[in-house]
């Protein structure tokens, strides 16, 4: 608690170093491109739109480390960006929406979605699982951009 009270954003390297903030943002974008891009590969397969030579389970397994790596990069750089101005972010509607969608997306991805991708599920369930995933992740991206506009 004492540590928290002593925190002064003005001393945060993200606010004092000209490069730190944009570098974090670039890594954040690269992280979500890798994370969401690989999730989309599994989605395309679940929706029955392409990559039909591969099974959803094989695609999940093949992309798994990269999805995790991309999401890890996002979850490291995100809190760093947040630390540059916590009070602003906590009040920001875009940020609140984004974090809600992110938590839902992460839980969904590693529970229900994982199960659907790894088991031989029929068309309707697979399509539903893919659509929910797509909507959740796109919402996270929209929430992130709207932080700067609300």
């Amino acid at each position: 608690m004492a540590l928290f009270l002593a925190y002064d954003v003005a001393n945060n390297p993200l606010n004092t170093n000209e490069w730190a903030f944009p570098v974090c943002e670039v890594l954040h974008i690269l992280g979500f491109a890798i994370g969401i891009g690989t999730i989309t590969m599994v989605n395309i397969r679940l929706l029955g739109l392409g990559l039909k030579k591969e099974s959803p389970a094989d695609l999940w397994k093949g992309t798994f480390p990269w999805t995790l790596g991309g999401l890890a990069l996002v979850l490291i750089t995100g809190p760093l960006i947040f630390s540059s101005d916590p009070t602003m972010y906590l009040r920001n509607e875009g940020f609140r929406f984004k974090i809600t969608m992110l938590v839902l997306a992460l839980i969904y991805h590693y529970t229900i979605y994982r199960k659907v991708a790894l088991t031989k599920t029929s068309g309707g369930v697979a399509v539903m699982a893919g659509l929910i995933s797509l909507v959740l992740w796109v919402s996270v991206v929209f929430g992130g951009i709207f932080i700067a506009f609300v």
């Binding site: 944009p22 891009g37 999730i39 990559l51 990269w66 796109v138 951009i145 700067a148």
Partner: protein
Amino acid sequence: MPPEIVQWFQDMSIATAIRESALVFPVILSLHLTGMGLFGGMILMTDLRMLGITLTKHPVSDIVNGLRPWKHLGLTLTATCGILLLWSKAAIYYPNPYLRIKLMLFALIIIHAIVFRGVYRNVADLDRATVIPGRAKLAAVLSIVLWISVVTAGRWIGYWEPKGAPVNAAQVIN
């Protein structure tokens, strides 16, 4: 390009509508980023497959050919939104050196596609190859470097300010 022409582009009614709307500009920007999210990872997966690093259980041609239409779709979405964003603030973006760097990187990406077209056209050859040829590996590495540079230059566009004249609130580029 004469500044008048850039200003004329920016002053067109569609550009003005995008720029001045509280909703349209951020929605297009979000779609620009969504497009990146949807296909950026696929570019990396294609390149890493060609390098023999990931998805090694699947033939190279399955991954490269299977992802191609989706990468094109994502690129179309990202590029369309990017052009609309650029158009809406043409005069503001025009002197920005990072925009110019980004456009030059796109020129390099086109050159990359021309130089290595043989690699991508005959990608099925890689399925049978015991060792992936150096030319294919070079194509993959350069692709990763170029696309990461594009993202970096793109983000830096928002941090540059013209010297002397302070940027007013309406011109802040996010």
